[in-house]
């Protein structure tokens, strides 16, 4: 059995979750602070869209953005000699875009549940907004944020449609586990496919269990 899909998948999912996590936190805290309810709603819609769209549609848009004959893709290629499509980076981009809504929504929900009085109290105590975020909001929102991060990781690991469109299915380069399973089944190698399936099953199960663990983990300050 070729181990490269497992390694590529773990690498992709890890890189993707690092980006998704920070981006999700940043965008969620920005949206939560936003005053206008209308702008909030519209932006929330746009940010959540990748979660409800078919991944192939997301892949289509990514191709339009990063394709070598498109402005951004051309710019990256001509001036930075970076070709995104059909590269390993493309698998990461696809995973980030698809998994982002999960992270963003979980973080936003967790932030919004933090008692506003606590934040106001912190302000009257002279704490800066940054300090309030790290000392008050984050610790209290942590269970929700952690659950969101784990779910995003799992979603990134399982990404197929958008990855296939923008990164292709190049063995040893962009062939992640879901693509490998598809390729093996297509080639009639059910047994190899089954190995990959078992790997995905195990990782996903660990992920779901650890989400539950974070959700119900006893905290000293909660009765």
């Amino acid at each position: 059995m070729d181990l490269s899909p497992i390694l590529i998948s773990l690498k992709t999912a890890s890189a993707a979750i690092a980006v998704t996590f920070l981006l999700g936190l940043f965008v969620a805290s920005w949206i939560v602070k936003m005053k206008s309810e209308k702008t909030k709603m519209v932006l929330d819609g746009i940010l959540t869209l990748p979660m409800v769209l078919p991944p192939t549609v997301v892949g289509f848009f990514l191709l339009i953005i990063f394709g070598v004959n498109r402005p951004i893709g051309k710019f990256l290629l001509d001036f930075m000699s970076v070709k995104i499509v059909f590269s390993w980076a493309a698998t990461v981009i696809a995973a980030v875009v698809i998994a982002f809504p999960l992270m963003y929504r979980s973080a936003r929900g967790a932030f919004e549940q933090v008692d506003q009085n606590l934040i106001m109290a912190a302000r009257t105590l002279g704490m800066s907004e940054t300090r309030i975020f790290w000392r008050i909001v984050m610790p209290l929102a942590l269970p929700g944020v952690a659950a969101g991060a784990i779910l995003s990781f799992a979603r990134g690991l399982g990404e197929f449609g958008a990855t296939a469109m923008i990164a292709g299915n190049i063995a040893n380069k962009t062939r992640t586990l879901p693509l490998a399973i598809y390729a093996e089944v297509a080639a009639g190698n059910m047994q190899t496919a089954a190995y990959y399936v078992i790997v995905v099953l195990v990782i996903s199960f660990i992920v779901v269990v650890s989400t539950n663990y974070f959700a119900t983990k006893e905290r000293k300050y909660i009765k």
């Binding site: 106001m120 302000r123 704490m127 209290l140 300050y221």
Partner: protein, 348 residues
């Protein structure tokens, strides 16, 4: 030393319009629930922004809509004790008290342990807020505010979250602890007892507007306004007609009252506190003025007194001993002492 507040803010159902000025004393803001008391405190502390007006604390302009000044809460140095205390649930008592202090670590530890000692919180340093009783939580919250050395301390309904049997004791305790704080205290309450006990001066807020500002005892003695009379606990209020400069007719009770002082023309209501009637016998009632004869319609027993509801809807509160000593418990002769007639105007 002093706080000047003169702000307007549109809120859903009404417009908050509060103006008062203080000089370093204990000030109470007395008003019914939902009249904008807490909003006033939030505007002073900078959590909410008024639409227009000015807030000046000890000469420092905190808010001025004309000059476009609006300091952040962090820059105002105002202590705010929240109604539910707003202790950080994930921090221990000592972390909660120390969080607002910006100084070296050793200095911080010193200050925190000092606060813990003065607020009788020894042994609870490592506990989380949910492991404390209501009174202890309140002390932690107060210590947290005071450790930060604010220029003014705002207390938002400080005793409303406590059981009634704890309240009395804690009020005395808090009064004692507040002595550790040398600065202005502004307290919001809907309880006339708290207002009377704690505050030297009172601001009365009615439907968002500050209608009266003055010395607490003076306001309780002569509320002048209908809203103030209600908030200071006057149970008997009747519409009235001014018949001559020294005679008024209380419409709802169907009696005429004579006064020695001249009745202000704008008087629209008359109030009499339920405790202030004097029970007299029938003979005396014929000689004296401002007496009334009335039948008892209902009696409700309290712990130390009876609430006597009379047929003309007047409520008379009488000590048990006094009530037990009279024979005729159906027909009463009551004298209304001159001092206890509260002449009230409807609006400022």
């Amino acid at each position: 030393m002093g706080l000047l507040v003169d702000i307007k803010k549109r809120i859903k159902d009404f417009t908050l319009d509060v103006a008062f000025e203080t000089y370093g004393d204990y000030i109470g803001i007395l008003g019914a629930s939902g009249c904008g008391k807490s909003m006033t405190l939030k505007c002073i502390s900078g959590i909410e922004t008024p639409d227009e007006g000015r807030i000046v604390l000890n000469g420092k302009v905190l808010f001025d809509h004309v000059k476009k000044i609006n300091l952040k809460p962090q820059e105002r140095n105002i202590g705010y004790l929240f109604q539910n205390y707003a202790l950080f649930p994930h921090m221990t008592v000592e972390e909660n008290i120390g969080i607002g202090l910006s100084c070296s670590k050793t200095e911080k530890e010193e200050k925190v342990s000092g606060m813990i000692a003065s607020f009788h919180l020894q042994g609870m340093e490592k506990k989380y807020p949910n492991q404390l009783s209501g009174g202890q939580q309140q002390r932690v919250a107060l210590a947290r505010c005071i450790a930060y050395r604010p220029d003014v301390l705002l207390l938002d309904e400080p005793f409303s979250a406590l059981d009634s049997h704890l309240k009395e004791q804690l009020q005395t305790e808090v009064l004692e602890l507040l002595k550790l704080y040398h600065g202005e205290v502004l307290m919001v309450t809907h309880s006339r007892d708290e207002a009377y006990r704690f505050c030297k001066n009172l601001v009365i807020i009615d439907k968002g507007s500050s209608v009266l500002f003055g010395d607490t005892k003076g306001i309780f003695e002569q509320p002048r306004l209908l809203a103030a009379a209600r908030l200071t606990g006057c149970k008997n209020i009747s519409e009235c007609e001014v018949m001559s400069p020294q005679r008024i007719s209380a419409v709802d009770w169907d009696i005429t009252l004579e006064t020695e002082k001249t009745v202000p023309e704008k008087t629209k209501y008359v109030g009499i506190r339920a405790h202030e009637f004097e029970m007299i016998d029938a003979d005396r009632a014929k000689e004296e003025k401002n007496t009334l004869k009335c039948r008892v319609s209902n009696i409700v027993e309290d712990v130390f007194e009876y609430n006597i509801f009379l047929e003309n809807k007047i409520l008379y509160k009488v000590k048990k001993v006094e009530w037990d000593s009279i024979k005729d418990k159906e027909n009463l002769y009551l004298k209304i002492p001159e001092d206890s007639i509260l002449l009230l105007e409807k609006q400022k």
